[in-house]
Each structure stands twice: as C-alpha cells, then as structure tokens.
Amino acid sequence: MIRLVSDDLRPPANPPRRHLLSVGDLTRDDVERLLATARTFESSLERHVKKLPTLKGHLIVNLFYESSTRTSSSFELAAKRLSADTLTVKSLGSSVDKGESLKDTALTLGAYDPDVIVIRHPQIGAPQLVARVTEAHVVNAGDGKHQHPTQALLDLYTLREELGRLEGLHVAIVGDVLHSRVARSLVQAFALVGIRGTLVGPPALLPRELPAETTTDIEAIRDADVVYVLRMQNERMEAGANFVPSLAEYTARWGITPERLRPGQKVMHPGPMNRGVEIDPRVADSADSLITRQVRSGVVVRMAVLYDVLTGGPVGVQALAAAEVA
C-alpha cells in the first residue's frame, strides 16, 4: 500500500489525502517510485520542447515565509515544466508583513482553489496547519529546523545518479547539524534506503537524539564515500549563545578543505554556501563537487513530487510488482 498522510476524518472508501510533509511519511517504495519518476522527467528535459502538458490547468501556490533561492525557483520551474499555473507569495511585500496569521493567509490562498500549496515557514508544523485548513495537497519546502523532505529526496537522487547505488554508501554530514532540517530529513532518508550516515561537527551543534553515529573528530570523514557539508545557520542561532567560539575557529577545525579530503571523495552542500567558512572555495568548485548536480536534481525531483501528490503516482509500479510475483 502507498501511504503518505491520511486524514482520519475521511471515510475509508476514499484514497488517502496525499501530502508530503516529512520524510517520516514515506516508505521505501514511495522513495523508489519518486526517484524513478524523477529520472523519467530528467530525460524529458533533454528534448527540444522541455515542457510536459501533464498538470495543465492545475494551480500550484508557492508560499515562502523564509528567503530561498533554489528551493522556490526549482519548485516554480518544476511546476512550469509540467504546464501548471504558479502563484508565488513571499513574506516580503505581502500581507504576511502586515501581521496576517498563517491560518488566514492559507484560507485566503485556499479561496483560489489551488491544487498544491508548497510552503516554507520558520515554524515547525506550519505545513500541517495549512493541510488542515485548506483542500490543497501540501508539500513541505522546509519548516523551521524540522523537515525539508524534497531536499532529502533530491540528495538521494543525486547520490544514486552519481554513485550508481544507495544501499551501503557511507555519507558524512558535517557542520551545524543542530539547526539543520536538511540533516534531520537526510538521516531519516538514509535509514530508509540503507545508507550509513555519520554526523560530524562541534559538540554544541551535534544533537544526540538522531539515529546516526556522531563524532566531533573531522578525521571521521576519511572513510566516507561522500562528505555532505551543512551551512552555518547564523540566523537560527539565538543571540549570545556560544555554539562555536568563532567562525574562524569553526573553519580551522571543521571546514572542508582539499587537504581533508581523499582524492575522488564526492562533496555535497544544500546551499547557500558560506564560501571560506564551512567549505573551501577550491572544494566547492572542484570536479568532485556535486553541488550544481544537486540543483539540477532539484527540478526533476520536485516535478516528481508534484506529479505524485496530485496523481497518487503510477500505481502500475505495484501492479507490476504483483505481476512479477504471480
């Protein structure tokens, strides 16, 4: 059974209302289906006409309460490549600035009858609220330090396309894990597909509750296939809290430099980068950097997510599996 989030109030005869709020809602089958769909979309982008008519007549609202370049632009491009109409609302210059509550904004946008609302919000649980008060399918594009499921999916897609497999890979996640929704989503996603994750960083930025090995020793990245560098999130650190003594000291102890990497070791970063802080510019621009590949993956994976929440995905995947058993 495909299971994302089902609204318990609905009669059981109806298929579940589909949202993508957390990696925790996904099964391994869901992940495989989404990655396979993304690959099909990637081949459609090699054509002369890059647009598909699939979601013609659908409205996709992007509601961004936090600044974002790649996530909002890739969701918008993904929707456009599928011929959907898009409406992007950013907190700057909207009624959000005038103190309108999230619920009221969601109700207002809901009146336009959107098919999907993509939301980024600094508060944990904001996407769940939008899912409750509107009829739209909701995709979480990042809520506080909680979840960023499409980032985790595009990272899995990038890993599989570049390294040819997922199961058995070892990925070291380095940096500000504590404030990182990317790290939280990734750790869950890694567990789902059999990737070994190691969290590396300053002691004050390493949460203990995540189901992954943790260490403060940067040498631990040596035997990883991939080093996943996180951004130092100054905006999420409370003023005066000493998570790291100084950025310079952070760079000296945990910054990813060419000297700390093995030849051929791949490097990823969810962006935006603080060049010279968590990542050396020579690493970011090296041939082993998958960072621009991640950006490209973002479009096709978000196309797959939009298609999947709206259609329930190609159920043929199960029919095919059943057929193989029979």
Partner: protein, 195 residues
C-alpha cells in the same frame, strides 16, 4: 494492469492468425510508403513496442530496408491524470516507461503502432508527445485491433482486425514478449479501459 494473471476469454485471434495479420500490416506499410528509408515505427508503451519491433523485422525481411524504431510513453500526456482533493483518478496511472526516439523526426514518416484502438485518446496523447520531440513530415497509425467506440476524430491507416465490441467488453492482446503467448482475447469486464 496485471499482465501475467491468467485471463479467461474468447480467443479472437490465435498465434498463427496474429502472425498473418502482422505480415499483412507490414506489407501494407511497404505499399503505402515508397520511400521506406524515411519511415520510422514508433510503438506506444507497452504492447505497441514489441509490435513495432516485429513489424520492423517483417518489413526488413520483405523490402530489405530496416525502418528506424522508437518507443513513446504517454503517461505525462494523458487527459485524466489528476486526483483532486482525494477523489479517485479516472483510470489507474500506468507505470512510466521510457520514451526512446534516437533519431531526428524532421522529414520522417512516423507510423505509430499500438495494440488496440478504442477511444482514440491514447493516440491523441501519443501524437502530442511525438511533436514535443520534433516535427515529422507525416504521422500514420497502425493498430492490431480496432474495437470501435471512438471519442475523437482519429482513424487508423493500417488495421489488423476490425472487432466491433460492446463497451462492457474488453479486448486483451497478449504478446510473447510481455505475456508469454500470442493471442487476442475478448474479455467480459465491467471495468473500462482508456485506450
């Protein structure tokens, strides 16, 4: 959807008849296209693909010219994709298969190949998909079975067999490449197909 489940039904074409029918279609394609080297056979996923491959082989045996071969998947071109607010989709979304058109379409005569022609909606979607890859000189349509009930102004150029059916009936084409046997069956089913 379940390709390998045993299907009970009345056999309309057995393996021999199916082979003869394909031979005739291949012959008609040769007759209808004096410039055979311009012809490309494009199968519609799933069963149109092995049919196109067989037709290409038959054409090569008879005319000595091997037509270009391609495949098109119409999943993202369907007119019934969406589920709104938890409603069931109109038809189950098929598994997405590859579209492969490794040759320029410009100037080509593309012969779309499918197993069953029914409403015509699949063919409309396939034509739209094709034109996103290029601009063929002309598009023709070859089907193994035409079962009637068209909902669009679409007419095949090459027909294996006209089999008038009731809407409640279903034509099941089985091919060795997919189903381990060659046969065309008439199956009673309350469920509608969209082809």
């Amino acid at each position: 959807m379940n390709a390998h489940a045993p299907v009970r039904g009345k056999t309309l074409l057995d393996a021999d008849a199916l082979g003869r029918t394909l031979s005739r279609i291949a012959h008609e394609i040769i007759e209808g296209n004096p410039e055979l080297e311009e012809v490309a056979l494009v199968g519609i996923q799933t069963r149109g693909v092995p049919l196109a491959r067989r037709l290409a082989r038959l054409i090569e045996e008879r005319a000595g010219v091997e037509p270009a071969l391609g495949a098109v998947d119409i999943t993202f071109y369907r007119d019934d994709v969406s589920v709104r607010g938890g409603e069931a989709p109109l038809a189950a979304q098929p598994v997405v298969r590859a579209t492969q058109l490794d040759f320029p379409l410009e100037g080509r005569t593309v012969v779309l190949v499918d197993d069953v022609l029914y409403t015509g909606r699949t063919i409309r979607a396939a034509i739209e998909a094709l034109f996103d890859y290029g601009r063929p000189a002309r598009v023709q349509l070859a089907v193994l079975v035409d079962r009637g009930h068209r909902e669009l102004p679409i007419r095949p150029d090459y027909v294996g067999k006209n089999l008038p059916t009731a809407r409640g009936e279903r034509i099941q084409v089985q091919l060795v490449e997919v189903d381990e046997v060659d046969a065309v069956l008439l199956v009673e089913t309350p469920e509608e197909e969209s082809g």
